[in-house]
Symmetry: C2
Amino acid sequence: MVDLPAYLEERRQKVEAGLSKHLPPPTTRPFILHEAMRYAVLAGGKRLRPILCMASCEAAGGNPDNALLPGLAVEILHTYTLIHDDLPCMDNDDLRRGRPTTHIRFGEANALLAGDALLTLAFEWTSRVPAPHPYPPGQVALELAIGAGSQGVIGGQVEDLDAEGKPVNADLVDYIHSHKTAALIRAATRMGAICAGATPPQLEALSRYGECIGLAFQIADDILNVTSTPDQLGKPVGNDAALRKLTYVAVHGLEASRIRANALIDEAIAGLCLLPGDPNPLAELARYTIHRSK
Amino acid sequence: MVDLPAYLEERRQKVEAGLSKHLPPPTTRPFILHEAMRYAVLAGGKRLRPILCMASCEAAGGNPDNALLPGLAVEILHTYTLIHDDLPCMDNDDLRRGRPTTHIRFGEANALLAGDALLTLAFEWTSRVPAPHPYPPGQVALELAIGAGSQGVIGGQVEDLDAEGKPVNADLVDYIHSHKTAALIRAATRMGAICAGATPPQLEALSRYGECIGLAFQIADDILNVTSTPDQLGKPVGNDAALRKLTYVAVHGLEASRIRANALIDEAIAGLCLLPGDPNPLAELARYTIHRSK
């Protein structure tokens, strides 16, 4: 069995140290930009995406340290999406993880540019990671670009914004969740698998694992937005409903949302039998995805 | 000698065809985003960056077609910087190349996301281009990431915004120009050299060539902003002064600006003798950089 809290804490510390080391120091020019980048990235958080990237590499028989830099890239790319999402022309949020959002703290232009710079830096990092045989050498960066691009995360954001205030629609909420949230988590698990030189069926299993827990993660977020308190969540609750956001809960209700999230976790775990490494950390991480309190 | 207008037109058509082919079609979801991306990219323009990328590859002894995809990536990355620069929280421009800017036509959120998607797509394209021996396989994408990042283009943008309305400062205008404009043009010429498998001295010559013409290009832009008409330029003129932008002309005056631009072009051309291929296209392109009317 896995001592999940200890495992998460050990890996989280590795991620924090890596981020702090690899982000440009605040003492290099342009100072305000580097300060804003570090403010947004080094704000805590669960670091689930890099932890999943490393765990996927390990489960596919690789050394998890080989997946650290790609995992850090996924994390700062995730941070850029949060900075841009929070901007006034998007969700217009003032608070994130209990602190002022980046544009409140550094101004809109610097927040926009800090997001752009983190997105760019994610590709600087991944382009330094050659994929092992039999993958093409640029495969790690390519997975990140596809997951984050117009037919990945950004596609989900566009449809999410467009859907606000419109009638609920089951197909559309599936599209939004699978693109806005699952695409990047799937990219993280695929990148980990590739760093291990996974076989095609192993890559496919980890890809589906990432997809399933990504969807379950977003459904859990939708549930927490209804059932949690601002103190627990570190941000306002109930704003999905106020903004008439298209959520899984709005379409299917709380009970059906819980059932679906559990079914996705079961499916994610079922595929792990194809992997050469210990499946327990990924199985525990899958369950944690929906049983967290924030 | 080179028939420059015919050369530019032939290469420009190749670039236009490549962009139209490789950009996501407007018939794929998310429709509005892909439409916005194509609207911003396929708006004409000189396509100097991809032409320089291909010409650098050829001058270093390579096949220019090998540098087409990296060149296209530089071009769409350049377009993303224009979209984000035009946003209300940045320069707040309504007009670009005689047409409404992307956020005027598609709304701020879609413009922000179209810029993000083009930046991401630039790395999807470059991560498909392996660098030849002796370069590490991810070197093409890495050059683009470094040129576009917080210590490249974005660094220049941050300092440019910060400098508005402040006293003129010769060091600062050099920093802004070398980062905001020259860094990406230098990345284009370096990527072309790398695609040709250039030797270190050849890479260095093309790197310095890109740096020099990038600086000259921006000084020429500063000059045109003072001396041109809106009809010639396709955008308002004199707005640098109105915004109290830090330009080379504001610091050094028109005459000294012209002298400096010419000296940079001479330096760029002088280094071309190290290259195995025909230096004439690059020499003509260098002169064109400062003798254009828009």
